[in-house]
Subunit: 410 residues, 4 copies
Amino acid sequence: VTDLFWPGSERAGSLLSDRTLLGAMITVEAAWLGSLVEAGIAPTEAAHPLAGIVGDADLPELASGAEAGGNPVIGLVALLRDRLPGETGRWLHRGLTSQDVLDTALVLCLADTADRIAAEHRAQIAVLFDLAETHATTPMVGRTLTQHAVPITFGLKAAVWLTGILDATEALGHARARLPAQIGGAAGTLAALVELARLSGRPDPETTAQQIVAETAGRLGLPVRAPWHTVRSPLTALADALVGCTDAYGHLATDVATLSRPEIGELAEHNGGGSSTMPHKHNPALSVLIRRTALTAPGLAATAHLASASTVDERPDGAWHAEWAALRDLGRRAVVAASQASDLLTGLQVDTDAMAVNLDAAHGVTAEQASIAALAGAEPSATYLGLAGTVIEQTVARGRRLLSTGQEAW
Amino acid sequence: VTDLFWPGSERAGSLLSDRTLLGAMITVEAAWLGSLVEAGIAPTEAAHPLAGIVGDADLPELASGAEAGGNPVIGLVALLRDRLPGETGRWLHRGLTSQDVLDTALVLCLADTADRIAAEHRAQIAVLFDLAETHATTPMVGRTLTQHAVPITFGLKAAVWLTGILDATEALGHARARLPAQIGGAAGTLAALVELARLSGRPDPETTAQQIVAETAGRLGLPVRAPWHTVRSPLTALADALVGCTDAYGHLATDVATLSRPEIGELAEHNGGGSSTMPHKHNPALSVLIRRTALTAPGLAATAHLASASTVDERPDGAWHAEWAALRDLGRRAVVAASQASDLLTGLQVDTDAMAVNLDAAHGVTAEQASIAALAGAEPSATYLGLAGTVIEQTVARGRRLLSTGQEAW
Amino acid sequence: VTDLFWPGSERAGSLLSDRTLLGAMITVEAAWLGSLVEAGIAPTEAAHPLAGIVGDADLPELASGAEAGGNPVIGLVALLRDRLPGETGRWLHRGLTSQDVLDTALVLCLADTADRIAAEHRAQIAVLFDLAETHATTPMVGRTLTQHAVPITFGLKAAVWLTGILDATEALGHARARLPAQIGGAAGTLAALVELARLSGRPDPETTAQQIVAETAGRLGLPVRAPWHTVRSPLTALADALVGCTDAYGHLATDVATLSRPEIGELAEHNGGGSSTMPHKHNPALSVLIRRTALTAPGLAATAHLASASTVDERPDGAWHAEWAALRDLGRRAVVAASQASDLLTGLQVDTDAMAVNLDAAHGVTAEQASIAALAGAEPSATYLGLAGTVIEQTVARGRRLLSTGQEAW
Amino acid sequence: VTDLFWPGSERAGSLLSDRTLLGAMITVEAAWLGSLVEAGIAPTEAAHPLAGIVGDADLPELASGAEAGGNPVIGLVALLRDRLPGETGRWLHRGLTSQDVLDTALVLCLADTADRIAAEHRAQIAVLFDLAETHATTPMVGRTLTQHAVPITFGLKAAVWLTGILDATEALGHARARLPAQIGGAAGTLAALVELARLSGRPDPETTAQQIVAETAGRLGLPVRAPWHTVRSPLTALADALVGCTDAYGHLATDVATLSRPEIGELAEHNGGGSSTMPHKHNPALSVLIRRTALTAPGLAATAHLASASTVDERPDGAWHAEWAALRDLGRRAVVAASQASDLLTGLQVDTDAMAVNLDAAHGVTAEQASIAALAGAEPSATYLGLAGTVIEQTVARGRRLLSTGQEAW
């Protein structure tokens, strides 16, 4: 699947693609069926791995059929039942509702997406350690409100970028670890499951039901949570964390695009993009594409929140349906931008001479120092870099601590 | 191409698809090349229809190659040149910049999208004429802030829906008619084109250049406009108009979803959607999916505005790139929702008995009338429907006037 | 009323303030009462100008009382009735609903806001005429995707800014001229008014009712429109137009902020803003504050659309209430930014020497010209400014046509 | 300060008002000055509590003066210096930049806002415990996609609302505890402070500087963090958490507004809002106003993210300025909605008879149970409420655990 409207889309591969979502929905159905069989609620003959029954070739039918019921699960269940042995078909999906399957499948896809981004962050953090430490004493002019302010070092700038990535990493890890399975049944009571347990003679059908839920979640590697059909916090938290990521990349990319303006010339992308008509152009193409993402991501998370705020009844009438594409687009775009940011950092060209020249030419960057010296009644010091070195050290140390903990602890 | 994340997506067909955008880009290059040849700037041997040279099979290469330069035009031009006769290849794209081709191609796609929506509106307007007139005297309870207020007629409600569609139609027609070609060259000066005219000995190269621009726009059926690489009003106006459409559908769908609640039961969708687990369910699936669209569309237009507000220099560094997918998604989703709204209206089931029962049971709906009668010192009238009939007549008349004018006059 | 959180807020004066809204609500009630009396529906003794009865001192009570009914009209009517002569009090507000009064009052406030912005635009257009013509041949480097492209003139850049302002002016004029009065009564039927006309013995009470509506709208200087309690197109069109304005200012301000970076130095604000600690700073404070507005405005219009898309029943349950502050903030901020943009343009300092130096130092800006000359097999021309002069002339001519027409024709 | 455009605004009192922000800015300056004196950097004569020097009467001057420098700090420092003893004036603000003062003051205001919301949540949680437990076995019909599904209990619905509030509480506590002081100096290096320490002869000026930063943060009750002028994660995390709160209230309010429709009649607000014309109306005014907030909040957090994604250089050129009003409005509106939600819950009227009647009349709510019984080859059970009771118990238990921990542990 190509996307001419979103250059770089290939970087997200099959994450959150139709094919991947389909696979995840089948995985959810399989985990549930397996748990029913394992618990002895469904008969052994019903057991089936569900693999290879429905696949990519069925996507057009599933997609076009999704409108009738408002979601693709109904058609998928029908198609599976049609092709599975009778006993498996009879027990498939029993006790679940469409939203259980789609929510949990989406969660599986989002978890993979978050893991991919976390891997990019590890790569970025390593490069940023290097940039921060290598350029710990490389002076450049600090700029505020577009104008020259006081000297900084390029290492400090890298450390500030690093802080953004570390914040994003922590928030993403936090949200990812809390992405739960959704197992609630028709109206969040799991009534069908409890009824099945009761009618099959279980002494404590409610406990049995909870065990089956836990078993299913365990098979999927997801935590259990009370049915959340209308409480969408796990998804909005992930959406917010993804925007936190693109915020960090947007900051980085805007700095690079600005500092690679020819008149400034302090940074450059390794391979600038060409032009269809001007052979000399060396456009900061990665920065441009990252900035694009950063501009569009906040609106997608706002859509997820709006959906969350608009839930009603036991399962909502449109708000739920508004989430899927917003989360898909946000997730894929965040991955693309993460990957582009990794490349941007890896190939970043730092022109320390240009930094020195610009700092030298900067008018007034010693003004604050002079006023401080006057206040102290002393001569100004030889340098004026303050805690730049300390901030670098402390930020790198924070990064090392983060890397040494598992993601689940973030 | 399927979209499991957006049930109903098929309704938009190939509008604004990768394939359609590719075709439109080639159409733009062909119109330009044809105009250069016709003007005698390019030699006759360069003439070529460009048809069948690059096609669907090239989409993966074009898409993955789009990242390097930040857009898909550079790769397309390279591919075309590679496959075209030498003289055609030499003259292809000369004088244009990537943004000229992509902007104009996007405009062509959006124009088709707007035309498709206008056709849906004509169908909806006809149904709404019928509903408004058929139910001009069908009483029902008017509701405000969820509570019973005073009586209305269902015909009036249909007329109010109609007003929404008429407003949307006018605004869409206005914006669509103003979608211009983008022909500006590298930095909006058309310098290459003027230089070509000058070097080929034209006495008035600037006039020649303007004639070629006009010829190209004419071939594409689009108005001419001064280069608008950084003035995005034509696109934001269209985006706003598309949201105006989804606003109107959202209002309609929310009314239908509300009035088809079982306890109210005044309206129903013709074919309600089923459930994966509850055989009796008759979900208002079209209303639900339309509401989904209405929730997400405003954010997409906001993205287009944000891009417009963030332009800089002669061509922007990310803002431009943020527009494409936002406009694609907004356009396609608006078409899907328009088509769903047409179906919803066509199949709408009106239970006039339920309306009568609910009105009868409504507590206090005569309170205002009683207070008015007391003020006038007279007995209340037999009915209390005010100008409902007049509003219906006037709204239908407005609709008839609109339908009788061409879209270009809207 | 101050706003430390929005520097420059004072520029909007009392537009859309609580005090102004209160005055507008009273104006609406007065126009209605006057029309009832004039039509002979209300007795002559009920006539009253309503001036000076409720004022600023009542704002705290009105504001805190607004929550109970969800809007400030209920309390206002109660307060007026309490203080007015009995007959006036008895007839006040009869036939209207709260939303009629608040919508129409908001429309009056927004119309004044739009007029104020139009006045700023006239000032801006005059400055831009001057900049475009004065610098019609002032060469500077054109920049695309942050990098040097081909030469342009500063006059062309001014003409492009002008195009943005002209587009915004036309759209704002279009939307402002269509801002209607809202007169619908409890559920959009005007039943109370028709009943009053009927009970007072009018032969054709519906026609009488329409005449009273027309008279009221006429007194307010607003067009009549069928009740639009749930069809919010007039407000979203105005909101979109206001964002169109801030988009244009954002583009301008981003260009100025960029080109006033010390390393570029081509433009400067007349009075740059200072710093709390660095005495030498000359920050582009107006540009910064305009950019702030441009970042926040699209979200406010999206809120208005979201409200429009969420209407239900005969008057909505929250969507209506979400509009007021969004439109207030959008309107006031647009005025502030318009005024700042006028000052920015009036005081803009153009350093043509810096432009020449930067163009001279620009690497590769003749590359396209060389490639075109090679294509033509001729020597390059002396200049390479293409249609820059023509675009300037045509844009100024468009501006003059616009200024010479009345705003209502825009 | 009144706000006719936002009924209920008074509930937020002076939180995030101009007056409160002014006080917070002065508090920040005082903490800094006190720390400088305590560290012996500033002389003892400079010590001053700063109280009562600048106050409400100065707001107009401060507000109108804020535009020149782009923020209100510059004017505040000038005014303070003008009125303070010379030595205090000389040392005031030394080493800080405007953004340090405004960011930290905003953080103080936001922390108070979060604490106020947390208090409302404690009240809401208590009511929800009661509703969930009291109605643990009160049957009602579960609804999905607006249609009747299977039975639930009202206690379960209350437990689901509770889950939303608990999620919001945790996220808000997490973000609030991480709101840091901002102390970075002109470009994030604290160069002036280090220079002051060095010139005053400190052996290890960098350590001294860090101690002064820690002392200042300690006086303000805020954690220390590396300068975050361009890494806005602490603020976006808080904004996201605030939207998480309004999401939860929006869900609750939409349920109440829906279930208080006359045809359903299962819930009612204690004091419904009246109408300006229909004496019988009992509008769900709190629900309506909460829904309003929920519709507008996501866009405000998106603005904060957009600002975060658009930072550049060492301090940004507009993105920073876009945050203030967005956070102010989001914070105040969240408080208003929190307080309204508390009232809504406290006064909620539950009509268990109506619930029983509606459930009884619900067509098809036993369909799933019948199909499950058929699958199991047994007679259906007497009830079909599944884990409703278990979910209630577990959710209440989660709530009790949360209440028993301090907010800082959330």
